[in-house]
Every structure is written in structure tokens, then in C-alpha cells.
Subunit: 347 residues, 2 copies
């Protein structure tokens, strides 16, 4: 990412784990990150992959081109397949011209639901921010304490913040857009807007956002979900999460890529500390994913399925879907030698 | 497309066949069109598909969301599968906010190769036009005569034109971008720029561009190819096409979505009028696709494979790729009841 930037080019996918993850893993999971709201996710930048198949054959999945209608899209089948179909050994990515400027602001909201309502309104007004993140106040308190930051004043009447970034090549336009977006947030009881004035303030805000996951995990929110719903349904999802918390006796904090409808939900239960092996937590998570499904969403927006989410696949996919996926797995890997047992069971 | 525009929304895919094609066919072929250079192709807008499988099961391939890392990407496997895997019965598309303004200009070039060199330079300078089309003069002469248009002066010292569109929400920025792009084209011996002043002039230019395919076909250019290469390799492809014409005794006109590296090549041979059944034309087209492959490209950018391009799949795909595609086809459609014989043979 940094090395292409030096050449005036831009590779937008920017997962929060960017300090520790590798691009091969990003392809396996179809990773996202804050810029996805304007620029899309990993799958939107992968043009061609060299793959070692389970039978030892080496193929290129496509061609080094921006458009391709030549046979089945094996490239997109590999992206997000979590290492179950083949081993990626070379990657051809699309790069964009690097936008010259970006502006960042933080807007506090008295109500988490109102904050999530403002998200859709920004798009309906014709803006496409390059970042539109939501962080619930509990998460912001925890991360601010962890990194000893006072960048964001944490007051009792605030429930959530939106972090809003715009980017482009014309600073006047960006300033206008930011002002108009700020005005718009006031209609949703948004409070006083904090504009990040310089590179250092921007870096501080992004650092806070990036370290939320780690911070809430270490402070007891050990169960991690990666729900995604249509953007306009975010308020219903958030309301539902809070109700489920009351019903099942857990506390949840919500944060994530609100502009994509991709909400990370971290759960703190007084006694149950992981999502599997407990009938009570399984029931709670099934209820959560049934809600997500009823809103048109699904189990994972950018984290993948692996082992942890596997028990919930039946909620969002009919058996006919899972059978198709199994048959694709068998076609690629008849002896089940690659990452067996991930995403679904074969039997 | 028009019905979402009325609501201030934007569905960018805009194939030249838009008067006669259907959206189901667009999904089957992963269609493109002039706006793909900025906005991507059909695959970039399809979020979820209801599909009737060959076994009679009805599935939804994904979810109605902007990000999805939940199992294999069956949605993208269906897009571009040319009706061989299932029958699409419902479609969920992503829409964008409609850009408020667009500007259009036409730039003549003394050399086809120089015109194609200018294409890459525009992106390297940081611009992302919403349309960047190349039309060789022979094609423009034919279509101008067919529709009886004098919109574009056709002079003997011009070999090709670029049609360049920019869009966005700020007219001042668009004017600046257009001026800078126009200046840049002069470095590639671009001639006097023609700015389309009003909606009527824009419509006239786009009409000329859209009707090129039909015009050249009826005037003898009956063999149609849909090559795609990395954008920077366009000059080499164009030079190669002309050399192959001399070698195999045909005349070719080039036009298409130069900004994507997607070049339509129409071939006029004095005696051979279609691409199959003639060993001589088969040899010529194999040589063309070998060139395309050597440049990192492939057989079809947006038209698909069907029956006509099937004999050339071995040039761009190893047998291991084709075997994988066949195994996917068998997994979906073991009795080969859907569009049998398209893309590849099963046996």
C-alpha cells in the first residue's frame, strides 16, 4: 500500500489488521476496511491470480485486464474461498490514481440509532464519502483509555460518533462537501463537529478507530460478529442487537463500516466468553443472525466464515446453496486436502 | 436505467446494445459499455441473484449487501456464465447517486497509435474519465455516412478520435479536468478539440459511437472480435492488428473502450465473411489471440464466448483451467441441460 503510494498510485483495501495481515489472507477472506464504502473491497481489485490447485496443476484464473467475459470467473471464486480451493501464489491487482486530498471529521450523536439514520441520509443527498465509520461511545471510551488519548471528548450525553472522510483532487469541493455533510448530520441530532485539522489529528482519529477491536476484546467483549445488512436497515439491526442483549443477558458494543451496512458487534457476557460450546450463546447468536437475515443481510461482511461462523450458515443459505458450494469444493479438491472443515462440512 | 435516473440514482452499465438487450442477458455476458472505465461492468453492480438451478432448486446466491464474505461467491460465478449454470429469475443491483454533470469532448489524432498512447497518459496524470472511447477514422466515416451526420469533420490527415467524458457534481472541476486532459492530448499530436456544447451535441456524438458496430458490419466488416489487453499495451495491439491484416489479407477497423484496454476489432476480408469454417481466418484469429495473450490480455472483454470464440479458449486457458470450468458445469448441471456446448465442450 505504502509502496504504490510513493508512485502516485492507490490500492484502497485497508483492513484494520493491516499491520499484521498479509495480502494472501486478504484475498482468502475478501477483506474490506474503511475505504470500501467508496472504493470497494479486495475482490474489486483482484484481476488475476496464479493458483496451485489441489491436483498440483498451476493455473492463472483470468487475465491482467480490467474487463473479462471469457469463461467462468474463477478469479472471483478464489477470492473469499478461505484457502479451501487452491493456494494463491501470485496476484495481479488493479491500482487507481491516488487522490490528492482527504478531509476527516468526527460527529457526535445523542442516539446510536440517529447516528445510523444519518448514514443513509448522507448517500441519499448524493455524497459518497471515502470513509463512513460508526463507533459506539462505550467502544470509544475503552479505546481512548487503552491508548491514553484525549482526542475525542467523551461526554455522558453522547451515544455514538460517526467518523466521516471525503477524498478527491479538489480541496474546495471537499470543503464544501464536508460542510454540507456536517449540516446534514445536525438534522439527526448530530452535535458539534470536530474537524481533524492536520495529518497528526487525522492519524490520531484513525488510530483510535483501528484499535477498537483489540481494545474492546481485552476489556471483556470477547465474542466478535461481523454482520452486514442493507445500509438503510442499520437502525433496525442496532435496535435488535440491544434487545437481544437484554433477552440473553449480554452487553454489546457496535462499531464498524456503517457506510457499507457492515456492523461489527462485540459481545460481553458475564460468564460465557466464547461463541461456541454454549447452548445459550449459540441460541443468542442464532437469533442475531436470523434478525440479520430478515433484514436482507448475512453472517459476514469481511471477516469470513472459517470454523466460528460455520454453525450459522444454514440461517442464510438454503441447503441447495450449501450443496452447490460443497460440489464446487469437491470439483476443485476431491481429496479434501485444503483447509478441510472450513466454511462448511463436506459430509 | 432511465427509471432509476428519475429518482436521482445511477446504474452505470450501459452496453451499446442497450436498445435491444435485456438485463438478464447483460448478467449472462457480464456486459460493459462506455462507463465501465470509471464505474466498472455489470459484475460490479450485481449484489444477489435468484437462480433456478438445473435440479429445480431455487436459491439466492448471496445477500442484498454491499460487502459479503460468507462462503463461495456464487453471485460472481453466475455473472458471465452465459446461461450454462442456472436461470436467473430475480436480480438485486447496487445503485449509485447520479452525478449531476458531465462534459464530453472529441479529440482527433493523426496517428491511431498516438491516440492509444494518449489513453494511458490520461490515467497516469491522475484523471479517471467516465468515458474514454477510441474510434478509428474508417469506422467514423462509415457510421457518419450511415446516419447522415456531419457532427464530426472527417479529414484525410486524421487516423482516429478519442471521445472523452468526465462526470461529477462540480462543474468547475469538470471544466478544469477537461482543459487539462485536452492539453495533455496535444502532447500526442492530438488536433483541435471539439467540445460538445449541449445535450443535443452530446447525444449526437454518443449516437455515432453507439452505432459504429452496426454500421461497420453492414458495410463489410462482418467478423467481430472483442479483445482486451492491459491499457498500456493498446498501442502494441493496434500495431499488431494492422500487421496481421497485411499478412492475412484483411482490413480491420478498431474502436471501443480504450480506457479499459477493451478494443473491438472488425475484420473485412474480400472473400471470407465469417470467422468459422475457414482455415485461413481461423489461423488469422489464432494469431490475433496469441498476440492478445502475449500482451497479458484475453479473448473477450464484454461480449462473452458462446460458440464463436469457443475454438480459441485453449490459447488463453491451460487445459487445467478448462477442466475446472467443466467440473463446475458438471457440479451445477450434471445432465447438461442448460445451454449445452457454449463456452467449452464438456467431452
Amino acid at each position: 500500500m505504502d509502496s504504490v503510494k510513493e508512485r502516485g498510485l492507490f490500492y484502497p483495501p485497508d483492513p484494520s489488521s493491516r499491520g499484521s495481515c498479509f495480502i494472501g489472507g486478504n484475498i482468502a477472506e475478501n477483506s474490506g476496511g474503511p475505504k470500501a464504502v467508496k472504493y470497494g473491497v479486495v475482490k474489486d481489485y483482484v484481476l488475476n491470480l496464479e493458483v496451485v490447485l489441489p491436483n498440483g496443476e498451476v493455473i492463472w484464473t483470468g487475465a491482467n485486464v480490467l474487463k473479462n467475459s471469457t469463461g467462468y470467473n474463477l478469479t472471483q471464486l478464489m477470492v473469499g474461498s478461505e484457502g479451501t480451493l487452491g493456494i494463491v501464489t501470485k496476484i495481479v491487482l488493479k491500482l487507481l490514481p491516488l487522490p490528492k486530498y482527504d478531509l476527516l471529521m468526527l460527529v457526535p450523536f445523542k442516539s446510536l440509532e440517529k447516528a445510523s439514520e444519518a448514514v443513509s441520509a448522507i448517500f441519499r443527498a448524493g455524497f459518497t464519502p471515502s470513509g463512513l465509520e460508526l463507533v459506539e461511545i462505550d467502544a470509544l471510551k475503552i479505546v481512548s483509555a487503552m491508548v491514553d488519548s484525549h482526542a475525542v471528548p467523551v461526554t455522558d450525553d453522547i451515544e455514538a460518533h460517526l467518523i466521516i472522510e471525503v477524498d478527491g483532487n479538489n480541496m474546495d469541493v471537499l470543503m464544501q462537501d464536508m460542510e454540507q455533510i456536517a449540516e446534514l448530520t445536525a438534522q439527526f441530532e448530530g452535535g458539534e463537529v470536530f474537524f481533524a485539522d492536520d495529518a497528526q489529528q487525522k492519524a490520531e482519529l484513525w488510530k483510535l478507530r483501528r484499535r477498537v477491536a483489540e481494545a474492546v476484546k481485552t476489556s471483556g467483549y470477547t465474542i466478535e460478529e461481523d454482520t452486514v445488512v442493507p445500509r438503510a436497515e442499520l437502525p433496525k439491526l442496532i435496535r435488535g442487537v440491544k434487545e437481544l442483549g437484554k433477552q440473553y443477558g449480554f452487553h454489546a458494543v457496535c462499531y464498524g463500516h456503517a457506510g457499507d451496512g457492515n456492523l461489527h458487534i462485540r459481545i460481553n457476557h458475564p460468564t460465557i466468553k466464547n461463541s461456541h460450546g454454549s447452548p445459550e450463546m449459540t441460541a443468542a447468536l442464532r437469533a442475531l443472525f436470523q434478525l440479520v437475515k430478515s433484514l436482507g443481510g448475512t453472517v459476514s461482511g469481511e471477516h469470513g466464515v472459517g470454523l466460528i461462523q460455520k454453525p450459522y450458515m444454514d440461517i442464510v443459505f438454503r441447503n441447495a446453496n450449501l450443496e452447490l458450494m460443497r460440489s464446487i469444493k469437491r470439483a476443485f479438491d476431491p481429496n479434501n486436502i485444503l483447509n478441510a472443515g472450513k466454511i462448511f462440512d463436506l459430509a
